[in-house]
Symmetry: C2
Subunit: 310 residues, 2 copies
Amino acid sequence: MTDRVPPEALAQLGYARSLLKRHSAERSEPAHVAAEMAREDARFVLLAGDVPVLARRGEGATALLDREAGARSVAGTALYLGRADDRPVIARAAPAEAADFFRDDPDFEVLDLRSIAVQGRVPAEELGLLATAKSLLAWHARHGFCANCGKPTAMSCGGYRRDCAACGTEHFPRTDPVVIMLVTRGDRCLLGRQARFVANSYSCLAGFLEPGETIEDAVRREVFEEAGITVGKVDYLASQPWPFVSSLMIGCRGEAETETITLDRAELEDGRWFTRDEVRRMLAREHPDGLITPPPMAIAHTLMRAFVAE
Amino acid sequence: MTDRVPPEALAQLGYARSLLKRHSAERSEPAHVAAEMAREDARFVLLAGDVPVLARRGEGATALLDREAGARSVAGTALYLGRADDRPVIARAAPAEAADFFRDDPDFEVLDLRSIAVQGRVPAEELGLLATAKSLLAWHARHGFCANCGKPTAMSCGGYRRDCAACGTEHFPRTDPVVIMLVTRGDRCLLGRQARFVANSYSCLAGFLEPGETIEDAVRREVFEEAGITVGKVDYLASQPWPFVSSLMIGCRGEAETETITLDRAELEDGRWFTRDEVRRMLAREHPDGLITPPPMAIAHTLMRAFVAE
């Protein structure tokens, strides 16, 4: 159903394009990983705490630092992500304070990953690679112990696995599927806002898929739970890695079979039907009441653009 | 793109329909969960080891046992899944040996979850519920400790969460997205076989999605890694919960841009292009060389049926 999404909207979707070639077979060989990480032409994605350090390049910036800059701070966890432009890419975690090494240097900037995507501070195809780095480093930071036996685990496969020597369990990074859906009824669509959203912003409903659910049933359950609306037909439109912390956003369109909204106030502060024309004005930031949508890098924006374009 | 899948093929897809209503808001209230689990009309999904116990019902069977049967074996982990037909559903783990209590009783049968789906031993809408039970119980069995600090965790939310009292981390069940794809080139499609497959069986390529990847890029990466084929356009067709152990199968169609296959022998024992007519014969079990496909309950079968129906 990607055909239904305007290509220019898809092109603005954040974290959806990646320079990374993963070389997943080779990364299980420690000697290969060590050789890759030792290469002089390796480049570094450096996160200080959870904030990337960028190197300025003309008017823009890049997240791919050369070895000298990447090695400048105290060494933390280092992962072998794969290659980009045929050069090894290493993700490295540094303490949050390491940002200070770079903040006052005019050759660098320190910017959170959401702002990097919203502002388009790095080439679009670096965003997917940054998402991989951030999700994997966050996983290592919170998974130092074996969930099966409680003993410490050790990194393997360049960082794409952790192994427990005590009980033999292999642990793989998790990616949590999330359904996000634009629910329509004729010429209108259902949007809601959570209390934590910026003022006047409305978005698509969304929620984590649960064990034993199809994508389609997860869409139906979430919409019914949050808004009391029954959804029939569900179509897939697009997907997006979402590195806060490590989700896969599965963007869908759902057809409502009922109209009366009953909000779950624990989830949504408001929710209502919006006409196509109203959504068009919100996307263009020309709504008479000042209502807005998430930015173009968010898949909710992509889904709304697809609806408006019909 | 679900429109592209013949409805009769979709209807045979295993674990894709579920009687379960999850009541995810209420399950965070311990008093509600306790009251539900104490109800006389509650029904039990019982797994002895990882094998379900079924109650015979006429020619068929049901996985929903009444309280008397569900309580018959030694009590293990018990989860509140939600409701089915407005009656509480409890999933309970019993030791593998508990199967002996039931195996010789003509009112019951003990059958692994894959065979239940292949044989259609229970109503189709019980398969999704069984998938939820099996995935969640397997998660609890392997996640008794906090990955963040190594201390023991305790079940909460009826079993949809585990909490660490030592460091405060909340752990949610994981669902691992897997892409599975039928790659086509004109009138032919790419199928492969792993060494562990039953003899003469060919299936779609598949693999786990990794952090920082879209569904579409995961399809392209896996096909290139396993068969050396470059894939362009990718369309989503259907999804399926796969409870071995806890995956979400994301079924896609991919268009090959190259033709020469280079197999990764660590993954695939064989792989080649099959004509549409050949796939039709394999599905019908009429292939002259005795080649076959996975059964109708598997999403690979669904994807092949969609290709043949075009």
